[in-house]
Subunit: 219 residues, 2 copies
DNA sequence: GTCTATATGTCGATAGAC
DNA sequence: GTCTATCGACATATAGAC
């Protein structure tokens, strides 16, 4: 029942079927790792959630850890892609820099409820496995670069371009965002809806009015 | 070799011995949970690290989870105590508010290398156990109040007292601190030594120069 | 109070049928 | 390619000796 009489390609080649299985297993792994934790999630649970058996999982991945690592690189790639699209929208003039920056964070926050859980799991795992620590740091460098690119026009707006390294601002903004997101998950009333926006405004206003460590000459 | 000839009390009463065992077990649990994670740490490992056996652990605690929860409340109590001492130093005039604020964060960062790991574990565990989520949120409210008390004199310094709720500033500062600490653990060069200080300066300068959401009248 | 021994269960990973 | 059956390792928690 695999071959079709006409010249069209079969419904699914073997490679396509395997790719589909891999994708379903990865999605299920992301959900399961987020809900139960890396150590707490069993491969049987993951396979079941994907609609497959343990055997299928081991036929497509080397094991539990390999599954986890692929989630890490996959997530980083997705964030880079998202960053690129937003930067493009700014350069095309489709979107204002501040809006774009807010969208960059908000999309990450709203899109996926258990992304923060998965990221915390990845961070902890990386802290305990020096090999993966370097890999995770490297994986974050690309999305970080995208955020920097988004940061530059915003710094120009507030008149602080050149006065401060965009990478430092990107790091601080990202840390603030992730910290607030986690606190909001733990205790929503302590982080009102507009606190993130407010905090970003404070940050950029502060940058615009703070003289650098090495005093730059006034124009 | 247990009894002493003089009239002094015995070296250790039974209650004292038990309290000592509890403390040693809790210390070992903190280290082990931080290094291996909650699910990854075994009670046997914890008992061994404390120099006891599994039986001693179960004689002093209800089980693995109870040990974990006691670490949560114990950590919160320690932070409250630390906050109180620092606030007292400010009110006594022993220390400047900004220095005190910096010390509040730096002590937390330097004192204990695996505190961030333990906190990440606690947060994840709380996210997955609604019962403990409320408990952890509640446990954080006291240290948060201490941080707010420390924040007020700093806000006065920058001339923003009354213009902005100290609780919001405390929340943002804490989020920024924790986010930067985690990023520094993952990739030290991306978070230079003075970035935290710099970020705090940006934040307070920004607060001093940002009009509130409801514009307050100029003095 | 603390230890040793063990009951009971679940895990990751593999082998072989289909 | 995927499934079922299973092995060996290790987990939590308990029971009884001391």
């Amino acid at each position: 029942m695999d071959s079709e009489p006409d010249g069209k390609p079969r419904r699914l080649t073997r490679a396509e079927a395997k790719a589909r299985t891999r994708r379903l297993l990865l999605d299920a792994a992301a959900r399961t790792f987020a809900r139960k934790g890396y150590a707490g999630a069993s491969v049987e649970e993951i396979a079941e959630a994907a609609g497959y058996s343990i055997g299928a999982l081991y036929s497509n991945f080397g094991g539990k850890e390999e599954l986890f690592i692929e989630l890490m690189v996959g997530g980083a790639k997705a964030r880079v892609e998202r960053g690129r699209r937003i930067v493009a929208a700014v350069q095309d003039g489709t979107e204002e820099p501040e809006q774009a920056l807010g969208r960059f964070f908000m999309e990450a926050a709203d899109k996926d409820d258990d992304l923060p859980l998965l990221q915390a799991e990845l961070w902890l795992y990386a802290m305990r496995n020096p090999r993966l620590k370097e890999a995770l740091a490297e994986a974050q460098r690309e999305p970080q670069a995208a955020l920097e690119a988004l940061m530059e026009p915003v710094l120009e707006r507030v008149g602080a371009a050149g006065a401060v390294p965009p990478s430092a601002v990107a790091t601080v903004a990202s840390a603030m965002f992730q910290g607030l997101l986690r606190q909001r998950r733990l205790d929503p009333p302590s982080v009102p809806d507009d606190l993130l926006r407010q905090a970003m405004r404070w940050l950029f206003t502060g940058i615009a009015n703070t003289p650098g460590p090495s005093a730059e000459e006034p124009s």
